[in-house]
Assembly symmetry: C2
DNA sequence: CGTGCATTTGATAGCTATCAAAGAAGGTGG
DNA sequence: CCACCTTCTTTGATAGCTATCAAATGCACG
C-alpha cells in the first residue's frame, strides 16, 4: 500500500483505522485509533514496524513527509496546521499513557468509551450512541488488556445499566456521569441518570434499539 | 513560576525535569522526563493540571505558545524545528505507551534504563554510566509501578550482574545486550558480557567505582 | 441452515499492589 | 567530626487483580 522506505504523512479522509506497531515477538500493538479528518505521521525511518490498518472502508491520502514538509515551509499556515495536529496527537498519546499507567481495567474501558464518544459518538437523547469499528481484541490490545478482560468489563457495565449493547459494534452510553466516575475522572456523579439510578441493583438493562 | 493561563513553549537549557499532570485524586502522574536541550509544549488551555518540576538545578526559558508561534510563522525553519521536536515527543510518548501497555515490571525497568542510557548515559568501557536525577518514586510513577516494585526489579538486575548501583542515583549498565533482552527488544543476547556471563548464577555483582 | 470466527463465561495461576517494618543515605546542628 | 533525624530505599508477607487456559455461546456470512 504505502511506501515504507521513508517517513509518511497520511491523511485519513474517510473511514476508521488503527495505527499499529509490530513487536519483536511478532505480535502487534495498537498505538491509536484514527477517524475521518485525522492526520497521521509515520516515522518509518526512526521507528520501523509502524503500520496503518483499515477497520472499515477508508479513503486515505499519503505523502512522503520530506517532500510535503519542504513544500509546506513555503506556506507557514500549512506547517502550523500540521504542528497543531501533531500536538493533538501528542496530547492523546499522553492521555493514553496515563490510562495505561495507573488505571484499572474498568477505568481503562470507561475512559476509552468516553474518548470514543468524543470522537465518533452521536447524541441520542441524554445518551450517546457509538458504533465501534474495532473488535474487542483491538480494544484490549490498545488498552493493554486481554480480550477476556475487555469482555468482562463490558458485561459488568451492561449489567449495571451504564451502557447497553447490541451486536458487536453498537454501544449506547446511558450515563456519561457514571462512566466518568468509573473512568476515575471524578468521584461522584452529580445526577445519576434514570438508567443508573434504577438498574444498579436489580433491574435488567434496557433493550437497545438498533436504529433504522 | 510559569504563567499557567495560556499554552506555553518551554525550552530546557540545562538540568533535568519531570513533566507531570495532577490527577483528580490529587496525586500526580509523571508523563515524561526532560533533559538539557529538550523542548516541552504545555497545552494548559486544553489540558489543565500539567506542570514541570525540576529534578535538579535547571535553566529554562518559557514563551507563550501563541506569541512564539505567530513569530515563528515568519521563519518556517523555526516552525519546522518545533514540529520535529513535537514529533520526537510523540514518538517517545508512543514508546512509553507500549511499555505501559504490554510489558512486565522487569521489561519496563530495563526499557527505562536503556532509554535513559540513550539520553544521559556516559560510556565507560563496554558499560554505560548513568546518574539518575529522579527518585525511585518518580521512576515508578512514570512506569506505572509502585516504588517497591521498582526497588525489587533493581535488586534483581543487580543480583544478576546486569547493572551495578552505588548510592541512590548512580547506575552502571554492565550489559546492554542482556538489558535489551530483559526489555523484550530481542530474544537472546548475542554475546553475553563478562558480568552477565559470570554472575548469572552465583557471582556477586562487582563493586562500582563512584568516579571522582 | 451450517460453518467459522468473535465474544462471553468460568476456573485457576501469576504478577504486582498494598501493608508493614527494617535498613541506608544524606543533611543538620551540636 | 560526630550524633541525630528525616527521607528514601530495601525487604518481607499477603491480598487483589488480571492473564491464561478451557469451553460454551452467539453472531455474521455463505
Amino acid at each position: 500500500m504505502l511506501p515504507k522506505d521513508c517517513d509518511q504523512l497520511v491523511f485519513l479522509a474517510e473511514g476508521a483505522s488503527k495505527l499499529i506497531v509490530h513487536m519483536p515477538d511478532l505480535s502487534e500493538q495498537v498505538l491509536a485509533f484514527h477517524f475521518a479528518g485525522d492526520m497521521i505521521y509515520l516515522p518509518h525511518h526512526s521507528q520501523p514496524g509502524l503500520g496503518i490498518i483499515a477497520l472499515e472502508d477508508c479513503r486515505i491520502i499519503g505523502f512522503p513527509a520530506k517532500d510535503f514538509l519542504e513544500i509546506a515551509e513555503l506556506e507557514p499556515s500549512v506547517l502550523r496546521t500540521i504542528l497543531d495536529r501533531s500536538l493533538l496527537a501528542l496530547q492523546r498519546s499522553r492521555n493514553k499513557a496515563i490510562r495505561l499507567g495507573r488505571k484499572s481495567a474498568q477505568e481503562r474501558i470507561a475512559d476509552f468509551l468516553l474518548a470514543m464518544a468524543d470522537r465518533i459518538g452521536e447524541p441520542e437523547g441524554n445518551a450517546i450512541r457509538l458504533i465501534l469499528p474495532m473488535s474487542r481484541r483491538d480494544i484490549g490490545n490498545s488498552l493493554g488488556l486481554t480480550i477476556e478482560t475487555v469482555s468482562r468489563q463490558f458485561t459488568e457495565l451492561r449489567d449495571e445499566g451504564v451502557v447497553s449493547t447490541s451486536g458487536r459494534s453498537l454501544v449506547r452510553l446511558n450515563c456519561l456521569g457514571e462512566l466518568a466516575v468509573r473512568a476515575g475522572h471524578k468521584h461522584h456523579a452529580e445526577e445519576p441518570c434514570e438508567f443508573c439510578a434504577g438498574s444498579k441493583n436489580d433491574l435488567q438493562p434496557v433493550a437497545i434499539a438498533t436504529a433504522d
